[in-house]
Symmetry: C2
Amino acid sequence: MGERYRAASCIATITAMDLKQYIRDVPDFPIPGILFRDITPLLSDPAALKFALDEMTSRIEARRPDALAAIESRGFLFGTPIAARLGLPFVPIRKPGKLPAARMSMEYTLEYSQGQLDIHADALERGQRAIIVDDLLATGGTARAACQLVEMLGAEVVGLQFLIELEGLKGRALLEGHAVDTIIAYD
Amino acid sequence: MGERYRAASCIATITAMDLKQYIRDVPDFPIPGILFRDITPLLSDPAALKFALDEMTSRIEARRPDALAAIESRGFLFGTPIAARLGLPFVPIRKPGKLPAARMSMEYTLEYSQGQLDIHADALERGQRAIIVDDLLATGGTARAACQLVEMLGAEVVGLQFLIELEGLKGRALLEGHAVDTIIAYD
């Protein structure tokens, strides 16, 4: 397993750099001074999307989760394909006003806004091993709120898997104590 | 092909009814008088999710699209898994303020609100055969706006694929002229 994992990591390191070709930099979005990393070119290239999903799936599988929770909206793009591949229950973590049944809520601070995330109260069972998926790790505020929601239900967060990490925003510090993995990193 | 398609349809008709077991009815959501069809039990059951994706994928494949556009947010849950399985470019159709690059917009009326959808101007090429995916067909307003956006880019809508149809709201009438397919129907 160690040998096999190391080999897979090497391939990933080499090829993951190419994925940046499929991320479009859009300056001053959504507000002046922010350089937005747009994943739509990656989504529109079947080979790039497949590679990203393959990478995320193998890293998630290694953490042996028994449920996958993804954060609305862009986390959904990666969450269901990976959950379906691994045969995991999929749990949506949504913005307020979207989940219809009994729910728990958590407020959070984002890079350039504030918000709230909700989870259905029956979405996870006590002791379940949940992995959290989103497209981008920035300040980590959204992801931390997602962790708190999972833990409020008595489940365990066994890792957080992102496509992109903006390292300069130090999101990992906010998620200390959790295993964090990302495929594409920017300074 | 005709024989094979008929056989597949029979299987679908028998088994699709079971999927209703995984749809939770929530009365008075999001407003009094609306019976909300909650798909989260389906998402959290790996076999049910796989069956729904298998069904939607085979029906979409039969229309020979060369791109798949899905509507934010719940359309994303079905859009990327199907696009990845079929090796199709994935195009997000999003709510306003979300897509960062040059975009086209379309206003629409929903069952119980109003809204706007956006698409990136470079998301599709002229003449591309696009399939549109969403979780639910209600009045058809959202789906019609999505069709109009695809057509504004010069692409062709070769079909619309939904998981659920609320037949009483007559969404198909608003989408007349387009091929519409759904897996689960409610009166």
